[in-house]
Assembly symmetry: C2
Homo-oligomer: 209 residues x 2
Amino acid sequence: MQATAKRTTKRGAAKKRALVRGEPVVRGILAAALEELASAGYRALRIEDVATRAGVNKTTIYRRWPTKEDLVRAALLSVTDEKVVPPNTGSLRGDLLALGRAIIEIQTSPAGQSLFHVFLAEGPDSELMAIARSLRAVQEAGVRAIVESAIARGELAPGADPMLPCELLGAYLTHQLIADRASVDEAQLARVVDVILLGVLPPGRRAAL
Amino acid sequence: MQATAKRTTKRGAAKKRALVRGEPVVRGILAAALEELASAGYRALRIEDVATRAGVNKTTIYRRWPTKEDLVRAALLSVTDEKVVPPNTGSLRGDLLALGRAIIEIQTSPAGQSLFHVFLAEGPDSELMAIARSLRAVQEAGVRAIVESAIARGELAPGADPMLPCELLGAYLTHQLIADRASVDEAQLARVVDVILLGVLPPGRRAAL
């Protein structure tokens, strides 16, 4: 009896370790959740189907993400987590270019394209959009790191809206994707970044561009 | 017989006059088409239902707009036609502010809100979006007037992408509406316009801001 209990505890601990973010099981579940979301949409998404797709028991999912909302929130975060890291290239220009490239990479990836369609289909007042909105604070942490470095380097004019450069860039890239069904190329990205940059740099730093 | 023929011709001419754009009958039909589009979507839209809603015979519609696509194209154009006129305020800053206000006014109007939902629901690869895309050249005429005046006044740095200021502004306003479900207020509009403006003005004109 004691030996069995011990083994169970060991297995429990092993399972707990396996469910740390970034571990294969977790990655598999979150990838399966994104695929289910893309094919079924948010309303019709069922934890059972995610479990089947990921090849795990549904209790494995419920243990970590008690609700569908929790699971979808984690899945959405996983898309941007790896890519929108604070680039920290040493200049606001470099960081904005890196951010722009990361956004374009996500937008043009198969997962990004599927999600884009799901979001458009569910509409701005959907539960899915509410979840995405609640994630903005988390996702903006990377952007905030760019902004804070820029302020520390004296690259933002005092009194400016510090989030505006990144917001303008993100808005432009998304708009081009919706309006033209085309992603922005590197040359146009640089043009847009330079216009935004010139608009936010303090007067003394503009000549450097 | 002759008298009857004359009367018919007179009626035909009167009808033709009535169907000049901006005339009450045309306005009524286009408004009805927008309402039908908002409630039924593009795929399910029927000319018969538009005719019923507008209180006209469906041949009155077919005579001027032979296909559903023609009618929807005209209806979409009518939304922006009256509002996105070249403001011509005498400065690029004034024109961008006027353009921004016009976009916000359309976005927050009942017709604009309904259309926004229809566009999102139909998705970026829909026929409706293709029609909207085909209209951009027409709608950009107003924007082009702003750009040309700015170039003539020496307000755009040489070598700049001339459409970029207006595109950035439009993208930002649309993105805020989608992401925050809120329109941009006058103070934020001015902040955004000034960042964009500073980014596109030639070096010698920046001090004037």
